[in-house]
Structures are given as structure tokens and as C-alpha cells.
């Protein structure tokens, strides 16, 4: 599987982009040339220069430093949202698929209802009712993404639970909880990890969207979405304020999408 993955140049490129942004997020305080929240009224909306490579914003803050720090909010939100979605969706899907019967029918109707509400509308509604903050944005995105994991986990469970080794485990008297965790969850994990990678890409865009609308990371902390929001009012005067955070979102999301596609192909060469 590793060989199939490394042979896929697009997937390796995706992994390299993701790794780069993870490193940037970790070492942001060391490599940022300026304090990302320190305002400087003498440097308002300055074009890119040798001192400020990406220019400055409407409060004289260094855009490069804010883009570097913004990687923290975006990756953190992307990963935590997907962890929340995974933690809610996967147990629901596996138990529902394993139990079958009325429980499965009822649970899947609820999952379908969640899936019917457009993802961003549900995330906005949840974030609006919970209140604007990065934590609540992550909860909103996580809850909105959970049904996708529930559906996938259930589908995998339905395939795995009829396998002979599950029959064997049952006949040997292995407890259902052990079958669920050690046999079904372990075997359903690869496709769920692929989905997680792709879901991080969606979650990063969703976090940027919520921050853009003022429902995510709150000022003055840096976030790519909120940087784009403040750039809107200065578009004619300082286009660099909008260009760089957008490129950062695009590259990160592209990286996760390429990585997810590559993992998918490596795990399922027939696809």
C-alpha cells in the first residue's frame, strides 16, 4: 500500500503541502517576522516590500505573519472538527449497522435528515445558536460533518459483519463490544481515515467561511477567513490583503484533497 501511495506523484505532492503547512503552524512563532496582532498606524495598507513581503493590513499588521499564524487556526479547526465528527458519527454508524432492525432504520432516518440540510447552512445555524467563537465553529462543523461518518461507518459495518471471521468470533462467544471494537472498527478504519483526510479539507473551507462571516475565530487573532473578510472593504486599496490568505486556504485544501485521493487509490487500487 505504501508503495502504491509513493508511486502516485499527486498524492506525494499533497502530502508535502500538508506537511509544509503543519510545520508552518507549529513553528509560526519562530518564523513570523512580526507580531501578528500588533497594530502600527504608520504602516496602514502598505504594499508588499522587502520588510513586509505580503504587505500590511488596515491596522498596519504584517500580512505574512498573520498568514503564518492563520495556519494554526485553520489546521487546528480542520483537525478538531473532524475528530468531533468521527467521535460522534463512527460509533453511531457502527452500532446502528451492527444492531440492524428498527434501531438501524430510525438512526439512519435521523442521519438522512441531517444530511438533507445543506452542510454550510447547518454549520451557520449551529454556530449562530451556539455563539461566535473558534470552539463553537469547530463544534458546528463537527456536528454537521458527523452524519457523513455515520453513513460510511454503517456501510462498512454491513459489509464486515457478514464476514466469516465475525461469525467465527460470535460462535467462540466473543462479546459484542469486543467484536465492535476489535473486529469491525479495526477493519472499517482505512476508508474512514480516507474520509477523514477529505473531511479536513472541507472543514478548513468551512472554518474559513464561518470566520469570513464573523462566526469563527474572533479578532484580533489571525485566521485566514477573517483576514479575507477584512480585506473586502480594502479591495481596491490593498488587494494583497485578500490574495495571500486565499492562496493559503487553496493550497492547504488542495493538499488534503490530493492526499485523500491518493490514500483512496492506494487502499482501493481497483477504483
Amino acid at each position: 500500500m505504501v508503495r502504491r501511495f509513493t508511486r502516485n506523484r499527486a498524492a506525494v505532492f499533497g502530502l508535502a503541502i500538508v506537511a509544509l503547512f503543519v510545520v508552518i503552524a507549529i513553528v509560526a512563532p519562530l518564523i513570523s517576522p512580526f507580531d501578528p496582532i500588533k497594530t502600527n498606524w504608520g504602516l496602514v495598507r502598505k504594499a508588499p516590500s522587502a520588510a513586509h513581503w505580503f504587505g500590511t493590513d488596515e491596522l498596519g499588521r504584517d500580512v505574512l505573519s498573520r498568514v503564518l499564524y492563520g495556519a494554526r487556526a485553520s489546521l487546528y479547526a480542520g483537525v478538531v472538527s473532524v475528530v468531533i465528527a468521527f467521535a460522534i458519527g463512527v460509533p453511531i454508524g457502527i452500532i446502528s449497522g451492527f444492531a440492524g432492525g428498527v434501531l438501524d432504520v430510525v438512526v439512519m432516518r435521523v442521519v438522512d435528515a441531517f444530511l438533507a440540510i445543506p452542510f454550510l447552512i447547518l454549520a451557520i445555524a449551529l454556530a449562530a445558536f451556539l455563539g461566535p467563537s473558534l470552539t463553537n465553529a469547530m463544534i458546528a462543523i463537527g456536528v454537521s460533518t458527523a452524519p457523513v461518518f455515520a453513513r460510511l461507518a454503517r456501510g462498512q459495518t454491513l459489509i464486515i459483519k457478514v464476514e466469516e471471521y465475525i461469525e467465527a468470533a460470535r460462535s467462540m462467544g466473543v462479546r459484542p463490544s469486543t467484536i465492535l471494537t476489535k473486529y469491525i472498527f479495526a477493519n472499517a478504519l482505512p476508508p474512514l481515515l480516507v474520509q477523514s483526510t477529505l473531511a479536513i479539507a472541507t472543514a478548513i473551507i468551512a472554518e474559513a467561511a464561518l470566520a469570513f462571516l464573523g462566526l469563527g475565530q474572533q479578532p484580533p487573532d489571525a485566521s485566514w477567513g477573517s483576514m479575507l473578510n477584512s480585506a473586502r472593504s480594502s479591495l481596491g486599496l490593498a488587494p494583497w490583503m485578500a490574495i495571500y490568505p486565499g492562496i493559503a486556504i487553496f493550497l492547504t485544501v488542495l493538499g488534503f484533497n490530493l492526499l485523500g485521493d491518493g490514500l483512496h487509490d492506494a487502499l482501493d487500487p481497483k477504483a
Partner: protein, 316 residues
């Protein structure tokens, strides 16, 4: 056909009911006293009592749900606490605007996505296929609100060709309307076109490896007839399904696109409602968007049935 429709409707009804319960429960997420959240910090105890009475917050949850769902079924989504306007008519006024944007975006998605996907499948593994695959992946990865900002920067701020924001109805001034809808439709349509390209390519590749396509070629049929008549007509079922579901999502309002271009549709309404603490309007839009998606799924099933002769002949 009627039996099939009834069967699908029976599945859609409980889904719609569960959506209504989810949407109703959103209100329970409000931190603290919902009356205080709606009334704001400046509300007096008398005003808070009036809000509780008006919205039925003193009733048990199940009673509150019953009152809410029966009102919604009568088209009554409540009254805006700030402006005292009825939410139902406000929502109705936004629907044609969002519908116009959705149709324009869908048009862009179809005219780019389907031909590009067909060509990528025909030239699999060659230059054009790589171009389409990379473009599609980039289209999915670009945040559409950033694409919108970049287009405003280029076409409105720098070139001055198109208006940066605003909406004109096609019934008022068709030319101005076309200019106002072009950028938002491209922004929204390109993201959909990317998904459409991938889907069309994959559907065409599946069909083109079938025996009947090989037979058509062996009979000496011209290549374009093989592609369009034998392959594409059989690949259209998953494409129709995707297009219908995409349209269902679009009807929910392209929240960010409408916000960036100041288009007074459903998407902008929900954002404005969030910031004005009009939680009933947020609930109304969420419910409507879920219902629109369920209805479009139903339509997708019907179209799937209609476009698939095998399924039709089995039922007839």
C-alpha cells in the same frame, strides 16, 4: 410509476418531520434565556415576559414544537422581533432571487462540466484528461468566497466591466440583470462544474467499457455517434442525479456568494438573520433548505426512473 412515487414520498415524509425536529431543537442551543438573547441586554423584565409569552417559551417543549410546526405548515414562520415583519413573506420575496442565481450557476456548471468530462473520458490518460482532472480538483479546493473576491478585484475594480455587487431582476432590466448575475453565477457554477466534470468523466468511463459500445464501434458507427448516442445517453443517469442534487443545494442559497455580491437572496437572509439575532428566520431558512433538498432528491429519483429504460420496463 405512481407506486414508485408513493413509495418515495413515504420515505420523504418522516425525513421532513425529523428535519423539523432538528431545526426546532436548534433553539435549545441558545445559551441562557432565549428571551434575553432575542430581546438583548437592554430588554426590560416586562419586555422579556412579553417575548416569553409571544414565543411560547413558558410552554413545555413538545407543546412549543406542536405550535411551531402547525404554524409552519400554514406558512407562518413567525414575526421578526425587530421589524415586526412576517418572516414567511420576507422569505417568499427572496426565493425568486436565489432561484435566478441557482439557474444561472447550474447553466455554467452544465455547459462546462459535461463537455469537459466527456472529453476527459474520451482522451483518458492524455493531456486533456490531466488538464480536466487538475482543473476539477483545483475547482473543488478553491474557496468560492475567495474566488468571488478575486473576480471582483479583476472585473469590477480593475477592469470595470461588471458591477461589484447588487442584483437587478431580469424583468426590470435584462441587460443590467445579466451583468449583475454573471460573476456570482461563475463563482458558484465553477465549483459545481468541477464536481460535474469528475462525475461525467467517471460515468462515461464506466459506460465506454461496456460491450454495446464496443459493438457499436465494431459495426462501423461514427465515433461521435458512439460517444453521444451509445455512451452519453447511457451515462446520463448519474449525471442527472448529481445535477438535481446540486440544484437542491443551490436552492438553499449560496450563502457566501450572496453575501459577497450583496444579492438579496435566501443565503444573505440567513446571514443577516444571524447578526440581527432573528433566530426564527434562521430556523425558517434551515427548514426550507432541508425541505428543498428532500424534494430535489425525490425529483432525482423520478428523473432516474424516467431516464432508465430498464427500471421503467420492470415496473410497467
Amino acid at each position: 410509476m405512481i407506486g414508485f412515487l408513493i413509495q418515495r414520498l413515504l420515505v420523504a415524509i418522516p425525513t421532513l418531520l425529523i428535519i423539523s425536529v432538528i431545526v426546532f431543537c436548534l433553539q435549545q442551543l441558545l445559551p441562557g434565556d432565549p428571551a434575553l438573547v432575542i430581546g438583548g441586554g437592554e430588554a426590560t423584565p416586562a419586555m422579556l415576559a412579553e417575548i416569553r409569552e409571544r414565543y411560547g417559551f413558558n410552554d413545555p417543549l413538545i407543546v412549543q414544537y406542536w405550535h411551531w410546526i402547525t404554524s409552519v405548515m400554514h406558512g407562518d414562520f413567525g414575526v421578526s422581533y425587530r421589524t415586526r415583519e412576517e418572516i414567511g413573506p420576507m422569505l417568499a420575496a427572496k426565493i425568486p432571487v436565489t432561484l435566478h442565481l441557482a439557474l444561472a450557476a447550474m447553466f455554467i456548471s452544465l455547459i462546462i462540466g459535461i463537455p469537459a468530462g466527456i472529453l476527459a473520458a474520451i482522451w483518458r490518460g492524455r493531456g486533456w484528461d490531466h488538464v480536466v482532472t487538475i482543473t476539477a480538483l483545483s475547482g473543488i479546493s478553491i474557496p468560492n468566497f475567495w474566488l468571488g473576491i478575486m473576480m471582483i478585484l479583476l472585473f469590477a475594480v480593475n477592469l470595470g466591466w461588471l458591477p461589484a455587487s447588487g442584483y437587478v431582476s431580469p424583468f426590470v432590466d435584462p441587460w443590467a440583470s445579466l451583468k449583475s448575475i454573471t460573476m456570482p453565477a461563475i463563482v458558484l457554477g465553477t465549483a459545481l462544474a468541477a464536481a460535474m466534470m469528475r462525475h461525467t468523466r467517471s460515468a462515461m468511463l464506466t459506460v465506454m467499457s461496456q460491450d454495446y459500445v464496443r459493438t457499436a464501434r465494431a459495426k462501423g458507427q461514427r465515433e461521435w455517434i458512439v460517444i453521444l448516442k451509445h455512451a452519453f445517453l447511457n451515462a446520463q443517469v448519474p449525471i442527472i442525479t448529481l445535477a438535481t442534487l446540486q440544484f437542491g443545494t443551490l436552492l438553499a442559497g449560496a450563502v457566501l456568494t450572496e453575501q459577497i455580491f450583496s444579492i438579496p437572496g435566501i443565503g444573505k437572509m440567513v446571514v443577516d438573520a444571524v447578526f440581527n439575532r432573528e433566530y426564527q428566520a434562521v430556523q425558517a431558512v434551515t427548514l426550507l433548505s432541508g425541505a428543498a433538498f428532500v424534494l430535489m432528491s425525490l425529483l432525482a429519483d423520478v428523473l432516474y426512473f424516467w431516464a432508465n429504460p430498464k427500471l421503467r420496463s420492470k415496473t410497467l
